[in-house]
């Protein structure tokens, strides 16, 4: 990384007195003081790291001996286990517990810059302290100017494609997050700078004619569905699969409501059929149950497009019980069953029809209902109910 040869730099800097002073050992120190300090610090850091690495290796050998393991078996996981065993710690904060890790992971990193042979730092924006992000901002600015110019020159003319004079098409995607941008540019920067970049991007994307920069803009976009999964409470939107036999798209997800677990499979290009444990929609006599089952289709305006196949089971029945007890023979509640199916259906519809994700999310159908039957308390007839008090 650091390509500095002292001899070369001294020759390069000796131009300071080209004709009058000959090159001799008495000439003033050619290399800058800052660079000298940097070199010294860098060498010190390298020496220190070397020492710590050697110490770590010795410690590892000792540890292997103590745990009667072969040195090759002692990888990082084994070290962690050994340390946990040798130094049991009740401290709650994991950072406060004793660790043994390679020095490169633990010790602070030394900032390295790239210099040329005269000690000049690399990059024209080096002194802005955030060269990469400011470079990106300048790139956006230059592109903004060129897009405006392009539009002004070509508006109303027939020489260019009409689609090129439209704003860039960015539907179904969003700007990459600050963390991803930091990784992409391999540079740390503040949130303010990220906000500035996003404002610049938004302005560029809003301009008529920014379609010519579509490729540049899409480098900094990511698909929207990839991120909504993390925002949802409960199971994420499933991936779309393709049935090998019928060649139809389908999505499958397992969810629950109260004591009912439902595995729902929604198949695209169907006729709006329902099959819930062998029951069809009209087998549910309660109108509320039918409304609940149809809700995702109504909101996504896809009535009659998807087939729904669901199997339900009771969660309490499948819990591991004490071996000497009889298995519970309960069934889930009658009103919870359609709700569990509705949640699963909504998730699958969002997967198969991504445009309807936002309406479904806003209507709350993609959110899991985590409520459970409250357990009854000892010395009470129910969860909250008390025995009637009676004067004795």
């Amino acid at each position: 990384m650091l390509r500095i040869a002292l001899t070369r730099s001294s020759r390069a800097m000796s131009i300071a007195s080209p004709s009058s002073v000959p090159d001799n050992e008495a000439s003033v120190r050619k290399i800058g003081k800052a660079l000298e300090t940097y070199l010294k610090n860098s060498q010190q850091h390298v020496a220190m790291m070397e020492k710590h690495r050697a110490e770590f290796e010795t410690g590892r050998r000792h540890l292997a001996k103590m745990m009667s393991l072969d040195i090759h078996e002692l990888d990082q996981e084994a070290i962690d286990r050994a340390i946990q065993y040798l130094f049991p710690s009740g401290l709650t904060d994991p950072k406060a517990r004793p660790v043994m890790r390679p020095p490169d992971e633990v010790l602070p990193k030394f900032q390295r810059f790239t210099f040329d042979e005269e000690g000049k730092p690399e990059g024209t924006r080096f002194f802005t302290l955030n060269p990469k992000i400011y470079g990106l901002m300048s790139e956006i600015g230059v592109k903004t100017q060129s897009v405006m110019k392009f539009y002004d020159e070509h508006v109303g003319s027939r020489s260019v494609n009409k689609n090129d004079l439209e704003p860039a098409n960015l539907s179904g995607s969003q700007w990459i997050t600050a963390d991803k941008m930091k990784k992409k540019l391999s540079e740390k920067f503040s949130n303010e700078l990220y906000a500035q970049v996003i404002i610049a991007f938004e302005h560029l994307a809003s301009l008529p004619g920014s379609a010519i920069e579509q490729k540049f803009l899409s480098e900094f976009r990511e698909p929207m569905t990839a991120s909504t999964g993390s925002k949802l409470f409960g199971p994420a939107i499933p991936e779309v699969q393709i049935c090998a036999e019928t060649n139809r798209r389908f999505a499958e997800v397992t969810t629950h409501c109260k004591d009912t677990r439902a595995t729902v499979r929604v198949i695209d290009a169907g006729k709006g059929k329902y099959d819930i444990d062998g029951l069809q929609l009209h087998d549910f006599r309660h109108l509320q149950a039918r409304e609940i089952l149809l809700a995702p289709m109504i909101i996504s305006q896809t009535l009659g497009r998807f087939d729904v196949k669901a199997t339900t089971s009771c969660i309490s029945n499948s819990l591991p019980e004490a071996p000497n007890r009889e298995p519970l023979k309960r069934s889930g509640g009658m009103s919870a069953l359609p709700r569990a199916v509705r949640h699963g259906t909504a998730l699958c519809v969002a997967a198969l029809n991504p445009e309807s994700t936002e309406p479904l999310r806003l209507s709350g159908l993609l959110t899991l209902d985590p409520r459970k039957n409250e357990r009854s308390k000892v010395n009470q007839p129910g969860a909250r109910a008390k025995w009637i008090w009676k004067r004795r």
Binding site: A12, Q111, T124
Partner: protein, 307 residues
């Protein structure tokens, strides 16, 4: 009626007494000051000081007063006593300065810079008279329709001097930092700096960028050898914070100063218009040319020295 005239007379009387006392008081102050600082109240004191400074500068930098060259032949490095003397009288160090620096216009920029080109590039336009900085009046030719107009002869003289300095820095392999906070010209400045392999800073100035690199970058780095300000004012009309930082680190600065700019703390001034695209384009072109000339000279010397 009589009463009114009476009051009037009385008030006049008091007013006269007050006036006389006030004048006497002023004389008293003047006498005191004269006793304390005999130089201060002489009318030509300021003028004399200015003349003395000018003569001093002339002696320091003109070839007419150059010290005798026989000293240079004895040794190329000044001894201790000469260096000590040099702290008081810099001219004694002149023979030790390299020959290329003794030249007034080594790169011949006098031929490159033309007043009519500068006029076409609108370098002579200043701002409205009301905004003029007192310390910029020396560079003005006058005013027209309420707008300051620069004297392009003065501008040319200063521009040539600044270009020579930049070329000398480039010839010695120095780093030049291009700074502006003008939003209209920032991309041009960045492009120009990139073209000649130099550095640019057109964004928000983090305080301590030059003075506190160790903390901000994690290591001390080589600082720029010269800073070139294409406009010295920020959008708020304040001086760019980098000017003071460069002065603190004794980094020479070159500044394009408009009629409303403050030339304080800048080493090389260029009194000219810094807002118009034509003028900034012209100035950037000139400075790019100067840096290129310096770099070419450097390459030539390196090849000559290597043989």
């Amino acid at each position: 009626m009589n009463l009114f005239i009476f009051f009037l007379e009385i008030s006049f009387f008091f007013f006269h007494i007050f006036l006389v006392h006030f004048v006497l008081f002023l004389y008293l102050i003047k006498a005191c000051l004269k006793a304390r600082f005999p130089d201060l109240l002489k009318p030509d004191f300021q003028m004399r000081r200015a003349v003395a400074t000018a003569i001093h500068a002339e002696r320091a930098f003109s070839s007419r007063f150059a010290a005798q060259p026989q000293k240079a032949s004895t040794s190329s490095v000044p001894d201790r006593s000469t260096l000590e003397k040099g702290t008081v009288q810099p001219t004694v160090l002149k023979p030790f300065v390299s020959a290329s620096l003794q030249h007034e216009d080594l790169f011949n920029f006098e031929k490159l810079v033309h007043v009519d080109e500068m006029f076409k590039a609108r370098l002579h336009y200043g701002h409205k008279i009301g905004t003029v900085n007192n310390n910029m009046k020396w560079a003005l030719y006058g005013e027209r329709l309420g707008v300051c107009v620069f004297d392009l002869d003065i501008t040319k003289q200063y521009l040539v001097r600044a270009l020579n300095f930049v070329a000398h820095v480039a010839m010695r392999g120095g780093m030049i930092l291009f700074v502006t906070s003008n939003r209209d010209t920032m991309f041009d400045v960045e492009k120009a700096a990139e073209e000649v392999g130099q550095y640019s800073h057109v964004r928000k100035w983090q305080s301590g960028t030059l003075t506190n690199t160790r903390q901000l970058l994690g290591a001390s780095v080589r600082l720029p050898d010269a800073v070139f300000f294409l406009s010295t004012l920020t959008s708020l009309g304040e001086n760019h914070p980098a000017i003071i930082e460069a002065a603190k680190m004794t980094i020479p600065t070159i500044g394009v100063v408009d009629s409303n700019s403050d030339p304080a703390y800048l080493t090389y001034l260029i009194p000219a218009n810094d807002d118009t695209p034509q003028s900034t384009e012209y100035l950037l072109r000139m400075f790019k040319e100067a840096i290129r000339k310096g770099q070419e000279e450097r390459k030539r010397l390196q090849q000559g020295g290597g043989k």
